[in-house]
Symmetry: C2
Subunit: 277 residues, 2 copies
Amino acid sequence: MPNEKRTVFFISDSTAITAETLGHSLMAQFDHVQFHQFTLPFVDSAEKAMEAISIINEIAKITETKPIVFSTLVNAEIRQIIKNCNCIFFDSIDTFLTPLEKELDMPSSKMVGSYHKFKDNVYDVRMDAVNYALGHDDGMTMKNFDMADVILVGVSRTGKTPTCVYLALQFGIFAANYPLTEENFANKDRKHIASLTLFKEKLFGLTINPARLQKIRSERWPNSRYASLAQCQTEISMAEELFAAEDIPFINVTMMSVEEIAAHILQFKKLQRRLFS
Amino acid sequence: MPNEKRTVFFISDSTAITAETLGHSLMAQFDHVQFHQFTLPFVDSAEKAMEAISIINEIAKITETKPIVFSTLVNAEIRQIIKNCNCIFFDSIDTFLTPLEKELDMPSSKMVGSYHKFKDNVYDVRMDAVNYALGHDDGMTMKNFDMADVILVGVSRTGKTPTCVYLALQFGIFAANYPLTEENFANKDRKHIASLTLFKEKLFGLTINPARLQKIRSERWPNSRYASLAQCQTEISMAEELFAAEDIPFINVTMMSVEEIAAHILQFKKLQRRLFS
């Protein structure tokens, strides 16, 4: 099948994150289409809507194809302006909000951006969780490990840091991480490992296929001992032996995105998210 | 209007992030409903679907109300199982994928979780951006500031750190931040400020209303000089004078979420996102 090209717009009166998320999940179902993407956030006035349609109509003219528009525009007037331009319009507000109003038997507030409206509590929880993740990254300290919801352990470059930061930002989860290094294992009294296992019920292991780890490490430190397949194999074996010996639950992240790793951790550890935005 | 309670499920064969994002944006339009939320990710077999419906049906029985289900289930068979249980079913795949197939004139791949499928490039970009944000947080160094896509400046507790981390994780943007402290301003030769303005075209300012800043700072350091209204006012005045003098674009984040701040920065600085997942 030949590669096709299509232009896609994500339009919202707010950040356009919902439009992007929904749009991407649908676009990912079409491997053979190359999508050119434009995000138009904060389209919250008729003037801005007119600007938006001039761009959309121009692209339609140049490409001789109607651009696809994913919209979460809440304002009906603005929505109508965009809907009538030279585009294919996918509307997640009209499509779902009307039946939801019917089901809940009440009108919706039709508040623009109310999803992301500022909430004191959200700000604080998020700040605290992000600061916690940053302050407990890569084994810098075990202080306050008792405050952690989860402590990720794994060898270097298994995705511990981005996963902790994602858990903090997205869910308000307090996530620390601690690297399993050859030194930690080699240490005669294995004091770091011993300290770590004091928090056993909070530990969650990340492992990865050695060949993939070699590739990741080689990107940054090519031809180093650290990036060699032998070293990757040794470290991963030691990590997986620890997981088995200490009964630490773990997942293999070789084929996983940060979002997937985070979702698995939440599910497995039955963690209650503190943020819903 | 009396507060109503409704139970909501987010169900997906993958992480359920899309279902959650869409669901939250719709739920936020109903102020008077208290939603109890459950996320069921990775429902990728008939067995797991049966488990899910036993939970949904149980809740329906207890609450004597049909739970609302936001689904991004791609597998038609699994979708059918859930759809037939005792629930109100909102289906963003069936609703949008079929018209999208028609418009693109090709079948979708119907690949479960293909949105979040692992991509080498995504992993690297994200790791590099997150590491950059963590390595250039809170003025720890100006080294490699030339690599930044944007450098956020503002007084302490204006949301610089979570915004940088969010820009990195969500968009692959290299974002550094540098705090505007009283010391930096008081310093006779203002060397930090002077160094900072060398990167003027990358700077973006965050400001906030003094009363709000006082509240945020007081949460953590009550009754401190740092959290006093006078101190907050002084620092913010100095920061805003700097923005004006150096022609640094800025926004007032008082009523903004991290998502909104990030979306404004992308738009204003015309930054190209490196990540689309």
